[in-house]
Amino acid sequence: MALPLPPGLTHAEVAFLAEMEMVTIVPRQRLESMDLLSGQTPPLRPPHRAQLPLWLALLLKKQRRANIVPPPWLHPASLSEIIHRETKENPQTFSPPPPPPAHANPHDPGHARRLADADTILSPPFQPSCTASAPAGYLPYHWLEVAEALLAHAGDDMAAPAGEVRSLLRDLVEVRAAKMRSSTSVLGGAENGLMELTGVGAIELAESRAFVLGVVDGVRKIGAGAEAARREDEEQGGGIHDDDGSDDDMGI
């Protein structure tokens, strides 16, 4: 009650975080390497492409020192493919997040391998520079924020007229928002308490978090009595103990 902000990040915060995502630029001026908190930026030599954080790339773009190369997934063809997949092929689920980056093995030429070691974290928010290296046909975690920022500030660098990309994005947003709304309806079944939200982007989560949590919480409250009774039965009957009772501690 004391906190005025709902749980989770607001849109502005998510958009701020998205500015750490890497984008590819084509510099128009030389710029020496800079020491930033996240490490050194690559030295910029005009015809060579370089990867920079989005905020720095936008700054250089505004100063006309660089052009931004739109990421492959922001190409109209990629967007229409995703829309097609979301509406026609899989009208129920969200399109999957980008696969982990592939690495070529120098000893085994021709066979790239997905990075999937035990110690690499590859879930969306922690994936390194997932926005720049995401292949076409997949939406990275920060897709909408990055796309909006690029459209607003680097519309002339797009692969197609900015209006076309924008209208495709709008379609995609609408399709996915509708899915988000109807995704809660699976909770209505007696035994099904799972919602599949794989592939949902950060800004979509920020938008729907309160609503989805509200629905889940309501379902939990309605079922609380039956749940307590079931637990009692279990404890008296088989003596199977839920040792942690994690459901109670979650505090959704």
Partner: protein
């Protein structure tokens, strides 16, 4: 549920029908018969908190009355059979607020007191089905842009009006909160999108 939760307090004030199981002297005014004894078997609507106390507590007077609770209670009309049947038929068509402004709160409280498996199933289905509808309306309703955007920008307002308003008026408190959450989310999203350019 917090101690200071106003909705919880108001839910506790909802009346439910109770049947007295023993005579109570001088309480007849509850049944419109002042200065008389309240007879066993009188049916009176009591607030939930009082009914709960009386139903759980048991008298410790005479030997033959020992262990007997003061009152027994039935499900309130808001959770009656006809309402449940209507909800089964089409959850969206029932204005829950007309039944009780704290419909779900009342229902969960009643389910705590008495085992109603079927009611829980119906309510769950109802809540989830209506939630989808609520989210849909929450996205449409209201001009989100503050600065008088052109009507073309709010083209998604189509379909609100008649039926939509009717439905929204029938939301109970839980659903109103849910509507608010969904609406705030959608609004924040739109505001953010309009502000991207300014940074």
């Amino acid at each position: 549920m917090s101690y200071y939760d106003i909705d919880a307090i108001l839910t506790d004030a909802e009346k439910i029908p109770c049947t007295f199981q023993l005579d109570v002297p001088d309480l007849g005014y509850l049944d419109n018969t002042p200065t008389q004894t309240l007879k066993t078997g009188s049916r009176i609507a009591l607030p939930l908190w009082l009914a709960e106390m009386l139903a759980i507590a048991s008298s410790s007077g005479d030997l033959d009355e020992q262990g007997k609770s003061f009152v027994t209670f039935d499900l309130p009309p808001a959770l009656g059979n006809d309402v449940v049947q209507a909800l089964k038929a089409d959850p969206r068509a029932v204005p829950l607020r007309d039944q009780s402004a704290h419909f779900y709160g009342l229902a969960t409280h009643m389910m705590d007191l008495s085992e109603e498996q079927e009611l829980a199933t119906v309510l769950r289905k109802t809540y989830v089905t209506r939630a989808t509808e609520i989210a849909l309306h929450a996205r449409k309703v209201g001009g989100v842009g503050h600065h008088g955007k052109s009507t073309a920008d709010e083209g998604s307002n189509l379909g609100v009006g008649g039926a939509g308003e009717e439905f929204l008026r029938g939301l109970d408190e839980w659903e109103r909160k849910l509507f608010r959450k969904a609406h705030d989310g959608a609004k924040a999203g739109k505001e953010w999108m309009e502000n991207v350019k300014k940074h």
